[in-house]
């Protein structure tokens, strides 16, 4: 394991310290937690937005704390949901009287911990509501299982729910908009190499020199299929096809596209993938309203990428374009 760290058991703590040190005028650390909160929070009569999850997905989640985005992000240990006692502190810290909205990725751990925190919050008289993001089409959507995973599409939920809340919308309206994003966002990823959880000290899985894992999860959970690594065009085509099949996008639909790097894949390769994705969408007559290429939801040093399409209506476009100012997402 080659990492620039001090102690595998302290990576989250050290990261949070370095994060706050980078943006001391914009954010603060919640005492005794690994929660990051906007410096001026809570904002009275604004719905407070809280997201979070395991660490190792940077810039998610703290990188999305800022004006027009999240009010707080709570970091768990690497790939491990944060705990209810941490989450409740964040909820309290961003409660400005209009309620608090939780953005949760669909993993058992995240749901359980956020739910328990929500129960604690309600016991303290804070109104709380939530959305569960499940954009990964690699996993079948079934009511008999835990359902689909939440991956890079979560970033669009942050942005759009964040913009809605910033406009002063009610908790109910923020929820409705967030649900609309969830209903319209689909993603899928591919890995070329594994990540290594610092405290585990060894790669989460092994891929042969010519292999890739299609449908990889952002915690290194296995995907749909392991097969010989294809060209960028083939990979782009496979991910695009799978997503379109599921999302049922048709001619003249407007979409936002995200080509997200999982960690060690150079931006050069993300743009190569984007080239093909855009070509395929153009062939289908789907209009790309806006494109995001970069590292938005990573998996430590995993090599690979994910592709996300979000179908947009007028409201979502406006909110996607709205001004925001967080380290990992500045729009104007």
């Amino acid at each position: 394991m080659k990492k620039i760290i001090n102690d595998p058991d302290k990576v989250v703590q050290d990261m949070i310290k370095g994060f706050v040190a980078a943006y001391p005028n914009d954010v603060k650390q919640l005492p005794n937690t690994t929660g990051i909160v906007r410096k001026e929070a809570p904002f009275s009569n604004k719905v407070g937005l809280v997201s979070g999850g395991g660490s190792g997905h940077e810039p998610a989640h703290a990188g999305y704390v800022g004006q027009g985005l999240l009010d707080a992000a709570v970091a768990g240990e690497v790939f491990t949901s944060p705990t209810p006692d941490q989450l409740i502190e964040a909820i309290k810290a961003v409660d400005g009287g209009a309620g608090v909205f939780l953005i949760i990725k669909n993993y058992t751990g995240d749901i359980l911990n956020f739910e328990m925190a929500a129960e604690l919050a309600e016991a303290e008289g804070i109104e709380v509501d939530k959305v569960v993001v499940n954009d990964d089409v690699a996993v079948e959507d079934s009511s008999f299982t835990s359902g689909r995973r939440g991956i890079a599409g979560t970033v669009f939920v942050h942005k759009i729910a964040g913009a809605k809340a910033e406009q002063g919308a009610s908790l109910q309206d923020v929820k409705q908009t967030a649900q609309k994003v969830v209903a319209n966002v689909r993603s899928m990823g591919v890995a070329l190499s594994s990540c290594t959880v610092p405290a585990a000290g060894k790669p989460s899985f092994e891929l042969a020199d010519d292999e890739m894992e299609i449908g990889i999860g952002i915690h290194g959970e296995p995907g749909i299929e392991r097969k010989q690594i294809g060209s960028a065009d083939d990979i782009a085509a496979e991910l695009t096809k799978k997503i379109l099949e599921d999302n049922k996008l048709t001619k003249n639909d407007d979409v936002a596209v995200m080509v997200n790097g999982l960690g060690s894949t150079p931006e050069m390769e993300l743009y190569i993938v984007n080239g093909k994705v855009q070509e395929l969408l153009a062939e289908k007559g789907i209009n790309v309203y806006k494109t995001f290429v970069g590292e938005y939801m990573t998996s430590l040093e995993m090599a690979g990428c994910s592709v996300t399409f979000l179908k947009l209506d007028h409201e979502l476009k406006e909110l996607l374009d709205a001004e925001s100012n967080a380290p990992a997402f500045r729009a104007k």
């Binding site: 058991d9 395991g54 768990g76 240990e77 690497v78 790939f79 491990t80 949901s81 944060p82 705990t83 209810p84 006692d85 941490q86 993993y107 058992t108 751990g109 359980l112 911990n113 328990m116 690699a138 996993v139 079948e140 008999f144 299982t145 835990s146 995973r149 959880v197 405290a199 585990a200 989460s204 899985f205 999860g217 915690h219 290194g220 959970e221 296995p222």
Partner: protein, 205 residues
């Protein structure tokens, strides 16, 4: 036969030792069908449990269980944290203020099982730690007094059976058929818990 406070602390201590010893093994199991953090999380949690409960003076078994619950809840995270936290919280609630005889222990495990099922929206046979807890609970209801070997045996068999089970809950469910052939990490950590309990009981005889 009443479970003593001292025995309860010993139980946690033995559980912790087993988990620390098998931290890497648990992580390897979770790498195969999950995200590779179960050993790390659960070992961090039980280490904190021992930091909390060892050397403290408790009046009732329930008080130990409560501290265990709160510690696991706030130190483990992931799926295992709230689930183990809930289990111990239920034990603490059922045991509250009372001596823990066989019947009450059995009741406590049943309540814990139900709590976990409810939290996890899961049932027996889904390749989760519920499989081990429900096997143990069933068995406790069939017997009338503590028998370490029987408990250990029951937990072990249930744990081993998760290998051939198809996962429908937890991260392993994403793998569908490919989840078959791998042990469920949470069931293995739960096995250590009951194995440790069996050892405490055997020693007490």
């Amino acid at each position: 036969q009443v479970l003593q406070v001292e025995q309860t602390v010993q139980w946690m201590d033995k559980t912790n030792t087993k988990i620390q010893e098998n931290k890497e093994y648990l992580t390897t199991l979770d790498q195969a069908i999950g995200d590779g953090d179960h050993g790390i999380n659960i070992s961090r949690g039980f280490q904190e449990v021992m930091n909390k409960v060892s050397g403290q003076a408790y009046e009732h078994v329930a008080d130990v269980m409560k501290d265990v619950a709160m510690t696991l809840m706030s130190k483990v995270g992931g799926a295992a944290g709230p689930l183990y936290g809930t289990a111990f919280l239920k034990l603490s609630m059922t045991f509250k203020g009372q001596d823990v005889d066989y019947a009450l222990f059995s009741q406590g495990i049943e309540d814990a099982l139900n709590g976990v099922k409810q939290r996890g929206k899961s049932d027996t046979g889904e390749k989760t730690l519920v499989d081990v807890w429900s096997a143990v609970s069933e068995r406790l209801k069939q017997e009338e007094k503590f028998d370490g070997s029987v408990l250990e045996e029951t937990a072990r068999t249930a744990m081993e059976n998760t290998k051939d089970t198809l996962a429908t809950k937890g991260r392993a469910a994403y793998l569908k058929e490919r989840s078959i052939g791998h042990l469920d990490p949470g069931s293995v950590s739960s096995f250590y818990l009951f194995e440790a309990f069996a050892e405490v009981i055997n020693e007490g005889e």
